[in-house]
């Protein structure tokens, strides 16, 4: 859906997305990286399991919620890429029951 503009290749770093290693530009937001990777949908809604992806990119819509390093519901557009971050898209269809 999106590509990088320009010929100068920015610096790339490795992060983990859904337990796979991927290469993304350093210094951009995680939401931008997910769009660049076309990793859509980035979450499913808790009520109707509808597919969603970043919408406003300015922290207002809360559509871009992902799990980062074990913490859920973080706005990907407000977090910058850092090497080694472990990202999981929240694709489970409902809020999971707690483990017994």
């Amino acid at each position: 859906m999106f590509r990088l503009l320009g010929n100068d290749a920015p610096e790339f770093v490795e992060i983990e997305l859904d337990a796979q290693r991927v290469s993304v530009p350093a210094g951009i937001s995680l939401a931008a990286a997910l769009l660049l990777l076309d990793a859509l949908p980035t979450r499913r809604t808790p009520v109707g399991a509808g597919p969603r992806a970043p919408f406003c990119m300015m922290g207002a819509c809360y559509e871009c919620l992902v799990e980062i390093d074990g913490r859920v519901n973080q706005r990907a557009c407000q977090v910058l890429i850092s090497a080694g971050m472990r990202v999981r898209r929240q694709l489970a269809s409902a809020v999971p029951e707690a483990e017994a």
Binding site: M1, I28, F55, C56, M58, G59, A60, E63
Partner: protein, 462 residues
């Protein structure tokens, strides 16, 4: 970070930066908090550290921000980026999340400069992956040098839509189509505001140049479009819409929407500032006096967060607020304050003289603002427009009652994207203007904060 500052400013856009600089120049001790890592707000986003080889390709209004940012950096104001203000009240107590730590703060004076948000443009399918706002397109361009890899469809109405089209064309990105929802017959009534608008500067000329560039690129431009419907299963596949010529269907995987900007009222509202309906701009704004002071003593709202006027007018409003705060804190005499304010006021009036023309030309058709029943009006809690209409039939007293009955507006975005739609529905149902309907009340937290972050600070208080 201290526990108290004479002046706290929220927001590092044009208004916030100007208020900080002006107040600091008069000797006020200022602290400015902004949730982004660098100053500039949305308009000058990433200007300090642009990933683009040539930031000037985004237009001269963008690079104009270099000087205000520089001046702000040199102003002596204490600047705290990466700081989210999640709580504020009318006594100017603040709760701030800085580096993941919650801190309390108090101030003698507050300038809220949180800017605007895009006016929500709900229609069936707008929640699909692949539908985004034009503002999002600009943020991706400015902050990550990302552009669409296939020609996108742009839909809506307003200068920002055309600006984005122009920026994409300059960057070598084709535009699949512009679906222009500007209603018919807007030019003629707007013309009476044209002479005044010309006094604002060469905005209109630039506007014409944008239009010319889009025409030269032979971008298909559908006018007076309505009844938008986004289709797709797991993601956007296409857009259907209507024009006078009939029904259309366009395949696309990326749709960028824009329907104007409206003040982001949440912070001002939470602080108890009265709002008022702006009938010309068809949106809620904050009621402020000629210095930007709200109905709450000591709390100012400056820039697009008070009333939509654009970046230059915002900066000038910030200056006025800064001057008034300095006078109120006893650091500036009334005579000198008025002398400094006079040219600022004139300049601001000049900038605002563009608005009547724009507001008239891009005036929304209120009938078209009624969301289709099938629209997922509340994206967060997945409440449809039909469900809102059903409770409106029960006799809802207003948007807050509608929210209580349906969960619409109770999700993480706290009504930022569903509020206007609910107001239009209730207004139509009660056959009154939106001014009589009101809007959602705003409550903390204005930004996410965890129970643990609050608990730790509570532990420290003891």
């Amino acid at each position: 970070m201290k526990a108290h500052y004479p002046l706290v400013i929220i927001g590092a856009g044009p208004a916030g930066m100007a208020a900080a600089q002006t107040a600091a120049a008069q000797g006020v001790e200022v602290a400015l908090f902004d949730d982004q890592p660098r100053p500039g707000g949305q308009i000058y986003r990433n200007l300090e550290a642009s990933p683009l080889a040539d930031p000037a390709q985004l237009g001269k209004d963008y690079v104009f921000g270099r000087l205000p940012i520089q001046r702000f950096r040199q102003s002596g104001a204490a600047y705290f980026p990466g700081s989210a203000v999640w709580y504020l009240d009318r006594e100017c107590n603040l709760g701030i999340l800085h580096d993941g730590v919650h801190r309390r703060l108090s101030a003698d004076r507050l300038v809220i400069a949180c800017g605007a948000q895009e006016r929500p443009m709900p229609f069936p399918g707008w929640q699909l992956p692949g539908v985004m706002t034009a503002g999002a397109g600009q943020i991706l361009l400015k902050s990550a040098a990302l552009v669409p890899d296939e020609p996108p469809v742009l839909a809506g109405s307003g200068p920002l839509l055309l600006l984005l089209a122009r920026q994409y064309l300059r960057a070598g990105v084709g535009i699949r189509a512009i679906i222009d929802t500007t209603p018919a017959g807007r030019l003629w009534p707007a013309l009476r505001y044209l002479p005044r608008a010309l006094a604002a500067g060469d905005y209109l000329l630039e506007g014409l140049q944008m239009v010319a560039a889009i025409r030269r690129a032979r971008v298909p431009w559908y006018r007076q479009a309505s009844d938008l419907r986004a289709d797709g299963d797991e993601r956007l596949a296409g857009l259907r819409f209507r024009t006078r010529g009939g029904l259309h269907e366009i395949e696309t995987r990326l749709l960028l929407l824009h329907q104007g900007v409206i003040p982001a009222l949440q912070a001002a509202s939470a602080a108890g500032c009265d709002s008022e309906w702006n009938p010309r701009q068809q949106c809620w704004q904050v009621a402020v006096d000629c210095w930007g002071e709200s109905s709450q003593n000591g709390i100012f709202v400056a820039g697009d967060g008070a009333t939509i006027g654009g970046a230059r007018a915002a900066a000038l409003a910030g200056q006025l607020a800064g001057l008034q705060v300095a006078w109120q804190l006893g650091l500036l005499s009334q005579t000198r304050r008025d002398r400094l304010a006079s040219p600022v006021r004139k300049a601001r009036q000049r900038q605002l003289s563009l608005r009547p023309f724009l507001d008239s030309y891009y005036r929304l058709d209120e009938a078209a603002l009624q969301p289709d029943d099938a629209t997922l009006l509340c994206r967060c809690e997945e409440v449809s427009a039909a469900q809102i209409r059903a409770v409106a039939q029960l006799g809802c007293s207003g948007p807050n009652q509608a929210r209580a009955f349906t969960r619409c507006g109770m999700g993480p975005c706290q009504g930022r994207f569903c509020g206007p739609g609910v107001e239009w529905i209730l207004a139509r149902q009660q056959t009154v203007g939106v001014d009589r309907i009101g809007h959602y009340n705003s409550r903390p937290p204005l930004q996410p904060v965890t129970l643990g972050q609050l608990a730790i600070s509570e532990g420290e208080q003891r």
